[in-house]
């Protein structure tokens, strides 16, 4: 199977869906002539032209709202936010218009829009550019949230997100764009709402999404090598809809869970997962569910220090060893 980057996998998904469906367009700042600030849309403007791949002014509320309106008319706009942090200047358009218009119209309208871009810390771009709002959008009934960790998942989930008839917030990660992995040449899609056991284990469940999955896998490797602890790694892949079954099956098997989450801890995604586990698998737990989140402060700039602010393999290992 060809080995390609997470970036290329996304690019392929976008290209295939642009080819497949005339209603799909790409829009965002620097997505066309510049090939994308992070090159995810590289070559697509050349290939599909001005009509399908469109550069916008720096007006997120305006163009995201435009995309919502176009989606209500049956188009399938794929909107890039250069950073998901910029969703804070178009928060109302996403939550109230994309997220609520179907409900408020009693189901007369649906909004097949995809809003995509990176949502991660760890690149020393400072507090305002390092937000991870998956918990905010997943809190909102009417929206769907996807956070792929690998090239394979990124492509399959992006294709499903574009074909989905509801608004999808697709959250990528600038630190993963360069990661490589096997991606089949043949067409495939990955349904939203299906978690993936990225590593089987028997002693403890490490549950994560996005880049935290990669960190969890590295921790699981060392846990086995150095501590003889067999950790299972569950990748949520989509936050909403959520595959609770796969999480619960894993916990019922291992009786222990540590949640790895690049979200800030207070009401982060992992708080929902912990609440769900203790409620639905209370008697299966041999230890409290514990969490390894981003350290609870705005993202610090200082590069070496910020690296320690995100969940690290060492912090995961400490938690696991304490729990086992």
């Amino acid at each position: 199977m060809p080995v390609i980057t997470y970036r290329q996998a996304l690019n392929d998904a976008l290209s295939e869906e642009l080819t497949r469906d005339e209603n799909v367009i790409l829009m965002g700042e620097e997505v066309a002539e510049y090939n994308g600030a992070y090159k995810v849309t590289e070559g697509l403007w050349k290939k599909f032209g001005d009509r399908r791949v469109i550069d916008t002014p720096i007006s997120e509320a305006g163009f995201i709202g435009l995309g919502v309106g176009a989606a209500m008319m049956g188009m399938r706009p794929v909107m890039e936010l250069m950073f998901w942090s910029f969703s804070y200047v178009c928060f109302d358009q996403i939550i109230n218009n994309a997220g609520c218009v179907r409900y408020m119209s009693g189901g007369l309208i649906n909004c097949p829009i995809v809003i995509r871009g990176p949502a991660n810390g760890g690149t020393s771009v400072g507090a305002t550019h390092s937000h991870t709002p998956e918990n905010f959008f997943a809190n909102t009934p009417g929206l769907k949230v996807v956070c792929p960790a690998t090239p394979y998942d990124a492509k399959g989930l992006m294709k499903s997100a574009i074909r989905d008839n509801d608004p999808v917030c697709f959250m990528e990660n600038t630190l993963l764009y360069g990661d490589t992995g096997e991606v089949p040449e043949d067409e495939y899609v990955i349904p939203l709402g299906v978690a993936d056991v990225k590593r089987e284990g028997t002693d403890i469940s490490l549950i994560a999404h996005g880049r935290a999955v990669i960190t969890a896998l590295a921790a699981a490797h060392r846990l086995w090598e150095e501590f003889n602890i067999s950790a299972e790694v569950v990748d949520l892949r989509t936050i909403r809809p959520l595959d609770e079954q796969t999480v619960l099956e894993s916990v019922r098997k291992t009786h222990r869970a540590v949640l790895i989450d690049e979200n800030k801890p207070f009401c982060g995604v992992s708080s929902q997962i912990a609440t769900m586990i203790q409620e639905q698998a209370f008697d299966d737990l041999d230890a409290p569910v514990s969490r390894v989140c981003s350290l609870d402060a705005p993202a610090i700039y200082s590069p070496k220090v910020e690296a320690m602010q995100l969940p690290t393999v060492d912090r995961i290992i400490q938690k696991v060893v304490a729990a086992c």
């Binding site: 163009f63 309106g69 009693g106 189901g107 595959d243």
Partner: protein
């Protein structure tokens, strides 16, 4: 540039009736406009009663006094023309052809309402009639109208989107972002500022710093604009027709500022309705600028209407309203489980995507 400045053909005050879009109107059409205005007013007058009887919740923003704007502009909509407005949305809804039944039932929160009782007064929708609501967040609809117009152009359809906002809404940034995008990309959107001079209790002078008017801000985006006397149905239609025609043919956007006035408070809950405006001011408008009275007089002058005809039309409107109240009262409320439909299309349709993973997280 102001169209008025640029070119007066067909827009010279005395000539609005002679403007092509008005000159060929049949007597029936002209009476239809009267009927539509009366239908709005009667519909809202009884909705007010129902509100006061405690049969509604939340907000009720009455359009009474502004009827000529919705009737004049929406009456120009062709098959590819669309409309979207804010929360003061009953008038436009009735003109685009929504039934009083579904609208009145929505106000009472009944499952037979246009939004199944989920949207309420601020959220009337009828996509099948090119009517996209009904939006509660001030100016939140302004980029949606842009997107609707963008889709029309993308699909190669010759149409435009009438996008309404209030005089207070112009100070939400997203409206300005929308103006720049509309002009930069040649999007066939027509922004219609319904200037009723107040945003809640705040007069235009206390909320907007302007040169000569609100529409003039369009200049900075190289967008044409015009001022419209909203009490004159002929003028509303003539100037809007021109804007819509240009949008359809050239995809150029335009901003129209239509002067109008609301008789009631900002919403029925507006405790100060008669404080920030002198009662005399309101009376003055009712006496001298009521769009319905003015149109009735006009039709009489033209020999099209008589008091009898007008009374008959009014009676029909009242009967239609009464029937809709009955319908709404007799309709059932949504069931508790209805709370969970109409959130995700995939779930509602029972598709595989809608059955995969957990979508709702009730304890």
């Amino acid at each position: 540039m102001s169209v008025a400045q640029a070119d007066k053909t067909g827009t010279d005050p005395v000539n609005f009736a002679k403007a092509p879009v008005n000159a060929n109107l049949s007597a029936d059409q002209k009476l239809r406009f009267l009927s539509d205005m009366l239908r709005i007013r009667r519909f809202e007058q009884s909705s007010l009663k129902l509100y006061q009887q405690g049969k509604m919740g939340g907000f009720l923003h009455l359009y009474i006094g502004q009827e000529s704007v919705a009737v004049g502009t929406c009456s120009l909509m062709g098959p590819n023309d669309h409309a979207i407005t804010a929360y003061r949305d009953h008038g436009h809804a009735l003109v685009v052809g929504m039934s009083m039944n579904e609208c009145m039932a929505e106000l009472l929160g009944k499952s037979t309402g246009c939004s199944k009782g989920k949207g309420g007064s601020m959220h009337f929708f009828a996509p099948d009639k090119n009517y996209w609501g009904g939006h509660g967040i001030v100016a939140g609809q302004t980029p949606l109208g842009l997107g609707i117009a963008f889709a029309l152009k993308y699909k190669g359809l010759k149409g435009c989107c009438l996008t309404y906002l209030g005089d207070g809404a112009v100070n939400q940034g997203v409206y300005h972002e929308s103006l720049n995008l509309a002009s930069l990309w040649d999007i066939p959107v027509v922004y219609i500022i319904e200037n009723n001079q107040y945003s809640m209790g705040t007069s235009l002078a206390r909320s907007s710093s302007i040169k000569s008017c609100l529409a003039e801000r369009a200049e900075g985006y190289k967008i044409d604009w015009d001022l419209v006397n909203g009490e004159n149905l002929y003028e509303v239609r003539a100037k809007t027709f021109e804007a819509m025609g240009r949008a359809r043919e050239t995809c150029r956007p335009m901003v129209l500022e239509i002067d109008t006035y609301r008789y009631y408070g900002h919403s029925v809950a507006d405790a100060n309705a008669k404080k920030y405006r002198k009662p005399e001011e309101i009376e003055f408008y009712k006496q001298n600028h009521d769009p319905i009275t003015l149109w009735e007089n006009r039709l009489k002058e033209e020999g099209i209407a008589t008091d009898e005809i007008i009374a008959k039309i009014d009676k029909e409107a009242k009967e239609e309203v009464a029937a809709s109240v009955q319908f709404a009262e007799d309709s059932p409320l949504p069931e508790l489980e209805d709370i969970f439909s109409d959130i995700y299309h995939e779930v509602d349709m029972g598709t595989e995507a809608g059955r995969t993973g957990r979508h709702f997280f009730n304890d």
